[in-house]
């Protein structure tokens, strides 16, 4: 009996369960249960100011469905979700490739452009700053009167491109997009550089010997071999873009654009509609879940070992 295979297996599971029970309990209590509670509160008219509330069923969901402001915010969020990772990751890949394989080839092996180590550090700078600081700095840059953007456009003779208001107009979403990409691209340069340095130089050498140019090398070798990292980066960046709360909240004036998290915040803490805000939170949760699921499924391919 003791030496039965099934018993051994049970024993093994029991060990693992025992081992993990405490962290799982803490996780369930402080992470999973608030989420379940959130589903419940999304069906109440709770104001957030007292412990009284009424159960209203799916009223909040119906209201959300007919709420134009919600859809505006959702559209902005999804726009960022799609475009921000695209730009950030493309730039990250390009810079990382230039830093690790963009230099003059010196007979054998590959090297980055001159001063690539310094660039790597410089690119990473924004990552060190808190998003709130970045938002304040960029709000100054976009400031119409004294900001660097308008001044810069005037200096290069593009006077007609200057605007009296960047962040309160329909340009706001693009302004936020630029800052979002700027602040995260350095992180991906470093991440992708690490992934690229793991590719054996022999592969590059062989490609060079076969007469492959830089772009062929990149699309046939570097990109496929760093695919796993790119995909992980995509999910991470997507979630960052879906948030964008700090940037929008600090930079964009109240009458300007909203993204889902900032709309949620306003409903909850300005308009005292915590119940409805929770409904928006649930919607945000579902969008995130959907995004992660799609990304996990998309482009799953054989892992290449080297």
């Amino acid at each position: 009996m003791r030496y039965d295979r099934r018993y051994r297996k049970l024993d093994q599971y029991r060990f693992i369960v025992w081992f993990l029970s405490l962290p799982l309990l803490v996780y369930g209590l402080f992470v999973v249960s608030p989420f379940l509670q959130a589903f419940f509160y999304s069906m109440t008219d709770w104001t957030g100011y007292s412990s009284d509330y009424n159960f209203v069923g799916f009223d909040n969901y119906e209201r959300m469905w007919n709420d134009d402001k919600f859809w505006d915010a959702a559209r902005n969020s999804v726009l960022l979700l799609v475009i921000a990772p695209l730009i950030t990751l493309a730039m990250g890949l390009f810079f990382a490739y230039m830093l690790s394989a963009g230099g003059r080839s010196r007979g054998h092996g590959v090297s980055g452009v001159a001063g690539s180590k310094l660039y790597k550090i410089v690119y990473f700078f924004p990552q060190v700053l808190s998003l709130a600081i970045i938002a304040v700095i960029w709000a100054r840059i976009y400031s119409p009167r004294s900001g660097a953007l308008n001044a810069g456009l005037e200096t290069v003779g593009l006077d007609s491109w200057t605007r009296e208001d960047w962040l309160g107009s329909s340009w706001a979403i693009w302004c936020v997009l630029v800052v979002l990409c700027w602040s995260f691209v350095g992180f991906y340069v470093v991440l992708f550089s690490a992934a690229m340095s793991a590719i054996p130089t022999e592969i590059y050498e062989a490609a060079r010997l076969d007469g492959a140019g830089r772009s062929v090398t990149f699309f046939r070798i570097t990109f496929p071999l760093t695919w796993e990292t790119v995909r992980t980066g995509w999910i991470y960046m997507g979630i960052q873009a879906l948030d964008a709360f700090a940037l929008v909240n600090v930079m964009v004036p109240e009458h300007g654009m909203d993204v889902l998290p900032s709309y949620l915040f306003e409903k909850s803490f300005r308009d005292a509609q915590a119940g409805y805000a929770t409904t928006i939170g649930v919607a945000l949760f579902l969008i995130t879940l959907l995004f992660a699921a799609v990304m996990m499924r998309l482009g799953r391919r054989e892992r290449i070992e080297f």
């Binding site: 093994q12 599971y13 693992i16 996780y27 992470v31 999973v32 608030p34 989420f35 509670q37 959130a38 509160y41 008219d45 709770w46 104001t47 957030g48 100011y49 007292s50 412990s51 009284d52 509330y53 209201r63 976009y142 400031s143 119409p144 009167r145 004294s146 308008n150 605007r163 009296e164 208001d165 960047w166 962040l167 309160g168 107009s169 979630i239 948030d243 709360f245 004036p253 109240e254 009458h255 300007g256 998290p261 949620l264 306003e266 909850s268 803490f269 300005r270 308009d271 005292a272 509609q273 915590a274 409805y276 805000a277 929770t278 939170g281 945000l284 949760f285 995130t288 879940l289 992660a292």
Partner: protein, 470 residues
């Protein structure tokens, strides 16, 4: 090999559970129940000196918003309180809602709350939940300085009104008194050799004169375009009468389509269309626009009487700040030129669940005494809601002119309630429409349509509590 597989499937499962850590949902949930433990303080014997029957032993807890006014004035008032009654626990914070909302939920709030700043709690929601104490008892109590006069009779007009939300109960006491209007520099007007404009034609002429000198007529805080409301609302009332503004406050159908609103919007739009507005204003914060104004780059700015204290560091010595009522349209205006938006701000309230509400009432009674009110004006150069408290004080130029403008207005006071009854409608929708119009992207008609649509949406939204002027 098998154990390897097991571990992997375990990791997969925990990773799936990990997906639940998506941001933002959980944060709202974990805080909806609980209960206070301190029992309420019993009401003691009521005497002439102690009309609320404060227990001299009970502790009082006061939380002050630490904004432009600081908290020294409250500390001074607390000293007076402590001379007679128990000790005061004093707290100051900029994060009123973040700090106090959990305590409101737990029914364990402080005794007096100065509910100010950008992070103030939504008083309408608190009232709906019966969490606020009615202050009528305070208003009917004898004042500190003269036992024969009730506190109600010592207050500036609109103070009681600002504490009401569609019924006779007075839920909050607004302590500071703000005069809104067109702020300007007397020096700048003198340099141009012009008088303060009383009609819109005069306004356009003054702006034209300024433009010839390379100066803009107006600037404003484009990031907070609802600053425009400070002059726009009384302007509307002046053209069409106070009822137009009351209809807007009451969210009546087509209230925004009144001719007076149309004239006011067209007048403001003309400023922008003729190039009298300082370039870049649409994207400025209130501080940036005030700085430009202080540097004589623009003549007028819509603002409130806190601006003198707020922009003090950048105001030139010779600026000679002043405020005037909003310029009228022409001789057909329904209300006199002096018509002004002046109202009490900086709200204080006593939570219904407070442990020592009588102490809170007594504290507010002390604040409403002449000594504390004068002290407030001297400390932060703002008027208070206490009548006559600033009469023989030596006031800085802006505040002195605000006082003059207020006295000249007499009964022609406008107190729009849109900003505190329907904050989102006022700040975001009306503000947004005005911002877009002043930036030249839409015409006045479209701006009015946007305001009306937003007002209708608010009127139909069941989740927003509605109020009516009483």
């Amino acid at each position: 090999m098998r154990s390897n597989l097991n571990r992997r499937s375990l990791l997969t499962r925990s990773a799936a559970a990990g997906l639940f850590t998506v941001p933002a949902v959980g944060a709202l949930a974990g805080c909806a129940s609980g209960g206070g433990d301190d029992g309420p303080v019993e009401r003691g014997e009521e005497t002439d000196d102690n009309p609320f029957g404060v227990d001299p032993e009970a502790e009082l807890e006061v939380v002050i918003f630490d904004g432009g006014f600081g908290d020294q004035y409250a500390l001074d008032a607390e000293e007076i309180y402590q001379a007679t009654y128990g000790s005061v626990q004093h707290d100051k914070t900029q994060e009123i809602a973040s700090r106090l909302q959990p305590r409101m939920v737990q029914a364990d709030p402080p005794d007096v709350i100065n509910n100010g700043g950008a992070d103030a709690m939504d008083i309408a929601a608190l009232i709906r939940n019966d969490q606020v104490l009615d202050l009528n008892e305070l208003l009917d109590a004898p004042s500190l300085d003269d036992p024969n006069v009730t506190i109600r009779d010592t207050l500036m007009p609109s103070t009681v009104e600002m504490g009401q939300f569609g019924s006779q109960e007075v839920w909050r006491l607004n302590y500071a008194f703000t005069v809104y209007g067109q702020w300007y520099s007397r020096t700048a007007l003198d340099r141009l050799g012009v008088e303060y404009p009383r009609t819109w034609d005069e306004m356009l002429a003054v702006c034209e004169a300024a433009k010839r000198e390379g100066m803009a007529g107006w600037t404003y805080a484009g990031q907070y375009p609802y600053y425009f409301n400070f002059t726009l609302y009384p302007f509307i009332a002046k053209i069409g009468g106070a009822d137009v503004m009351r209809a807007i406050d009451n969210l009546e159908p087509n209230a925004w389509r009144h001719d007076a609103v149309k004239s006011a919007f067209e007048a403001y739009h003309e400023l922008a269309a003729r190039g009298y507005v300082l370039r870049g204003s649409p994207g400025m914060t209130h501080e940036e626009s005030q700085d430009e104004w202080n540097e004589y780059r623009a003549l007028f700015i819509p603002n409130g009487s806190w601006v003198e204290n707020e922009s003090r560091r950048n105001t030139p010595e010779d600026f000679d700040m002043a405020v005037g009522p909003p310029t009228g349209l022409d001789s057909s205006d329904a209300m006199p030129f002096e018509t002004l938006w002046a109202s009490a701000g900086e709200p204080f309230f006593i939570p219904a669940d407070a442990a020592n509400p009588h102490g809170g009432l007594e504290f507010l009674r002390i604040m409403l005494g002449q000594a504390s009110a004068r002290n407030f004006t001297e400390l932060v150069s703002s008027l208070t809601c206490v009548r006559g408290a600033a009469d023989d004080l030596d006031l800085p130029p802006g505040l002195a002119s605000a006082k003059e403008a207020f006295e000249a207005a007499g009964d022609s006071l406008i107190v729009p309630r849109l900003p505190d009854w329907y904050k989102q409608l006022n700040n975001e929708e009306v503000g947004g429409a005005i911002a877009t119009m002043m930036a030249g992207d839409i015409d006045p008609e479209e701006a009015i349509n946007r305001c009306q649509r937003a007002a209708d949406a608010t009127a139909q939204d069941d989740s927003i509590q509605k109020f009516q002027h009483v």
